[in-house]
């Protein structure tokens, strides 16, 4: 027998060598395809990020109009706040004070703003009142009034105040508008545009970090003041609900299915269905939420509670599947060691299996939650795309969410102004995602090192 193998050894070597070239070629080809795929994928990611950053970064700067506003009693036509006279009863004083406050709210505050703008403008600059007021955002009068209401002694005094420039002013300053377009296509009148340029030169209009993006709620009447605070809080409430509900439910069901449930036809069906649920389009969960949570349970529309519940349903399969995979990966030796010591099944799971799988479960959970945070479609179906200009104080208040806010801004008709703002919101959302994923990676490596 050894004779025949020896005799054909040279021949076999030749056969092997003949095939070598083709084998190496296949290998090189596959490696090439792999590299090409990665380059393409990274390229697209790169394009996405450059585009978002290029558009979004300018939106983190806002144009402020620095004005010296005089609370001129003649312009305002208001008396000083009433003081409690000797002998005047408390009730009478309060009635007088209320009447005065009501009057303050009804005053035409635009007058003082117009005066302040004119003061900042060169002497004799010709522009009418309507046009000059397009330079500041429409919420300027509220800012000026708030200052006065808080401190009535300002009457007759002059204060320096930073007001938001209007969205159109901001566009003009940042060059988002083609300056060569004719008057008919311009949002701002010619004198207003000229005055803005003068203001920019003399330092009345300056650029500053757009804090309003984080401290204000959405706004349509004063687009330059539109911010993300409401959406951030809405997302916060929803994530809280997802974490509180989806994590214990998901991990609990995974533990039961993996460790305790008898292997039977029923558990097989459950397993298949959980896997299918993970692949169900998220908008279907939105329909389910509208039908069950809104129509049946009568939960409030647009509330983070309903949104959180829908996202919980959506995240559950992800967490269950990942947790089960982690539990499956625990070596049987550890289980046997625990059982052999006389640990009950529950003790085995909670003393030994869960601590070892904790890092994986945590990572899976964080990634599941991050995924839920970016979900938009199901929220549209339960009314979270409503325009809400308030910060939700509780999960049952009306609210919107970060991705939905992006969706809303992206559809805003003031394209020049909201395109950068949409990108800025996308950057905020991406920052949250990246932070969550970084935490997941950090905790994982940290906990695994310790284990």
């Amino acid at each position: 027998m050894s004779d025949t193998t020896l005799a054909s050894a040279a021949e076999r070597r030749k056969l092997v060598r003949a095939g070598l070239g083709r084998r190496h070629l296949t290998e090189r080809l596959f490696r090439g395809f792999g590299i090409l795929a990665i380059v393409l994928a990274l390229g697209f990611v790169g394009i996405l990020f450059t585009d978002v950053l290029r558009k979004g970064i300018p939106a983190f700067m806002q144009s402020n109009v620095h004005l010296a506003v005089t609370y001129d009693p003649e312009l305002l036509k208001i008396d000083p706040a009433p003081e409690q006279a000797a002998g005047q009863s408390d009730a009478d004083f309060r009635a007088a004070r209320l009447a005065w406050e009501r009057k303050v709210a009804m005053l035409n505050w635009n007058n003082v703003i117009e005066a302040a703008l004119r003061k900042a403008a060169p002497e004799g600059f010709e522009i009418d009142a309507r046009q000059i007021l397009t330079i500041t955002e429409t919420d300027a009068r509220h800012r000026v009034r708030e200052r006065f209401a808080a401190d009535p002694s300002l009457l007759g005094q002059t204060i320096e105040i930073d007001l938001l420039a209007s969205a159109n002013t901001d566009n003009w300053v940042k060059g988002n508008i083609d300056r060569n377009l004719g008057d008919a296509q311009q949002q701002l009148s010619a004198p207003a545009r000229a005055l803005i340029d003068i203001f920019e030169e003399n330092g009345t209009i300056t650029q500053g970090f757009a804090w309003s993006l984080f401290t204000n709620v959405d706004s349509r009447s004063a687009p330059a003041s539109a911010g993300l605070l409401g959406a951030l809080m809405g997302t916060f409430w929803m994530m809280l609900i997802v974490i509180v509900l989806a994590v214990p439910l998901g991990v609990g069901s995974a533990i039961y299915l993996e460790e305790f449930a008898p292997k039977s036809r029923i558990t097989d069906i459950i397993e298949v269905n959980i896997n299918n649920l993970a692949a169900v389009p998220s908008i279907v969960f939105g329909l389910l939420g509208a039908a069950v949570f809104i129509n049946w349970f009568r939960l409030p529309l647009s509330a983070p509670l309903a949104g959180g519940l829908v996202l919980t349903l959506m995240t559950l399969p992800t967490i269950i599947i990942a947790t089960r995979a982690a539990l499956k990966g625990v070596s049987p030796a550890l289980r046997q060691a625990a059982l052999g010591m006389g640990a009950s099944k529950t003790q085995m799971v909670f003393h030994h299996v869960l601590p070892v799988t904790f890092p994986s479960i945590l990572t899976a959970t964080i990634i599941g939650v991050a995924q839920a945070m970016g979900e938009t479609a199901p929220l549209l179906l339960i009314g979270m795309n409503a325009f809400v200009a308030a910060v939700p104080a509780t999960p049952i208040d009306q609210a919107t969410a970060l991705p939905v806010q992006i969706f809303l801004w992206q559809g805003n008709e003031n394209r020049n102004f909201f395109e950068p703002r949409t990108s800025a919101a996308i950057m905020v959302l991406l920052a949250f995602m990246i932070t969550l994923n970084a935490i997941a990676i950090f905790l994982r490596s940290r906990l695994e090192k310790r284990a």
Binding site: K263, S331, A333, L334, R335, Q336, A337, A338, L339, G340, M341, G342, A343, S344, Q347, H351, H352, P355, V356, A451
Partner: protein
């Protein structure tokens, strides 16, 4: 038979003036009795009617080629087969006359009485101290921290590991060498105060020196425990056991005193296995 000469343990020769050991004069107590034990894994029958008596304070070795059912039978004794999906055990196994498959018997209590050491050292990914303390903790054996400390130290001592690890009881048990890990597992099993210790090829993952240490340890432990050991190595069976049972294809072929089995096997298959013709 010449081949066997150096494989068997020389008969214990005690000096004539040695004090009489009462254990030597008594017929060993039977601790475990198995009658007609069968195991099915699904449709496949792994054990065909095993009947054996296992004596107290002695080492009983199960030998036989791979897949002969010796580990399966061992795992019946503390009902570890319960954890395998589709495993069905028939027949009767009694520990001190009590049926361990009786419906009212608590598996957790049984496993506290019948400890187990596995083929591959499998310490918990916890500190050395916690590894040993785990059993007493879950079974509520220690009334105080001092009690627990004492159990841990004495268990580590009995397992011959204390001197090596006394300065690093808080370090992870998984950081020890293979042989030390296995002794840690033995200490862990002893800590619960079991009556029977089952060992499933405890040295198969160890080097010869670690093996020798474990074998010495088994020999010492035999004075206090009933030990059942499954082994691939006939030399090991010859070195550490007093009783030997030979399994083949799910049948118990022959059982008896180790010396008898190794020097004078009755059955042809046993003879072939011991001579190295099957296995």
């Amino acid at each position: 038979m010449d081949l066997l000469a150096n494989k068997t343990k020389p008969p214990v020769t005690k000096p004539l003036n040695a004090p009489l050991d009462p254990l030597d004069m008594l017929e060993p107590n039977i601790r475990l009795t198995a009658r007609d034990v069968t195991v099915h894994y699904g449709a496949k029958q792994a054990l065909h009617g095993i009947s054996i008596d296992i004596p107290d304070r002695a080492v009983t070795a199960f030998i036989g080629p791979s897949g002969c059912g010796k580990s399966t039978f061992l795992r019946c004794i503390n009902r570890m087969n319960d954890t395998i999906e589709g495993a069905k055990v028939g027949g009767r196994i009694e520990l001190d006359g009590q049926d361990i498959y009786a419906p009212d018997l608590d598996v957790v209590e049984l496993r506290a009485r019948v400890g187990m050491v596995f083929q591959k050292p499998n310490p918990f990914p916890k500190s050395i101290y916690d590894n040993v303390a785990y059993g007493p903790r879950i079974h509520g054996l220690a009334r105080s921290k001092a009690d627990l400390d004492e159990i841990v130290v004495s268990s580590l001592r009995k397992a011959g590991l204390f001197e090596e690890v006394k300065d690093r009881l808080n370090e992870p048990g998984t950081g020890l060498s293979g042989g030390q890990q296995q002794r840690l597992c033995i200490a862990r099993a002893i800590a619960v105060g079991p009556e029977v210790i089952l060992m499933d090829e405890p040295c198969s993952a160890l080097d010869p020196i670690a093996t020798a240490i474990i074998e010495e340890l088994i020999d010492e432990l035999r004075t206090n425990y009933t030990i059942v050991i499954v082994t691939h190595s006939m030399q090991q069976a010859a070195r550490v056991s007093q009783k030997t049972a030979f399994f083949h294809l799910g049948n118990l072929i022959e059982q008896g005193d180790t010396e008898e089995i190794f020097t004078n096997p009755v059955n042809k298959q046993t003879q072939d296995y011991i001579m190295g013709r099957i296995g």
